[in-house]
Symmetry: C2
Subunit: 146 residues, 2 copies
Amino acid sequence: MEDIDRQIVSLLLNDGRMSYTDLGKATGLSTSAVHQRVRRLEERGVIRGYAAVVDHEALGLPLTAFISIKPIDPSQPDDSPDRLSGIAEIEACHSVAGDENYMLKVRVARPSALEDLLARIRSSANVSTRTMIVLSTPYENRPTIR
Amino acid sequence: MEDIDRQIVSLLLNDGRMSYTDLGKATGLSTSAVHQRVRRLEERGVIRGYAAVVDHEALGLPLTAFISIKPIDPSQPDDSPDRLSGIAEIEACHSVAGDENYMLKVRVARPSALEDLLARIRSSANVSTRTMIVLSTPYENRPTIR
DNA sequence: GGTGAAAGCCAAATGCT
DNA sequence: AGCATTTGGCTTTCACC
């Protein structure tokens, strides 16, 4: 991928609503050239979409936690992601190498909601859980591009 | 926060570039009413901004890992987030409860870049590290709103 | 791939309810 | 708080390079 595409992606990571006009000014291209490049980046799947960045505390979900899970019966086929995908509190599910199989990131309103969530996770995926409660978040979703 | 604000936030989580006109159609409000609400949500910090959602593989950073860290000398003041904030590979830093102090999420190009990154993290923050390498990501950044 | 112009559409501000 | 209106800017397309 070209350097100018990286620049466009970087700018859109910082401001997903930046106009093509401003992207053009920042990159030294014409509005239509930038537009075309962004469209291609979207078509190729480099840019998957755009999302608002929200304050989860303000939305009533102040409690974040990481939950790593491990099947209780490792001989069974592991379809945990499918089994857990219906649980709205789970923001992310990563398959990981190591002692545990998956790392989940969840957001809930209260400790009691976390307790309830853990019970649902354990029963629907037949897994044991290990939970790390997030106390504060110095930074998150920083644009990782170089 | 009102229900209609939640609806707006939810729509913008799924498409951060949605126009005020379309937000108005979706919520049953006029364009200007939606615009006003979005502006207030931004002012109150409920909406922190907007960002492109990118495919990190396509950007040349296919390797994701979670690194939990613990100070080697717990008697020293713990300013790990500050010390690590200059490291571009670190996408997120969460202070967590439990055996370790912080949970980092990092993205790199290659295993050797992870090795290099771990060395930099250990030396700049004087911490021990525990790394969970992400094998695949069934889902990530799902809109956590209800 | 890039440019520039033309069209329609949208954002942003204002004033009214 | 919401709506209608307006102006200026932006998006989008297209013909051309």
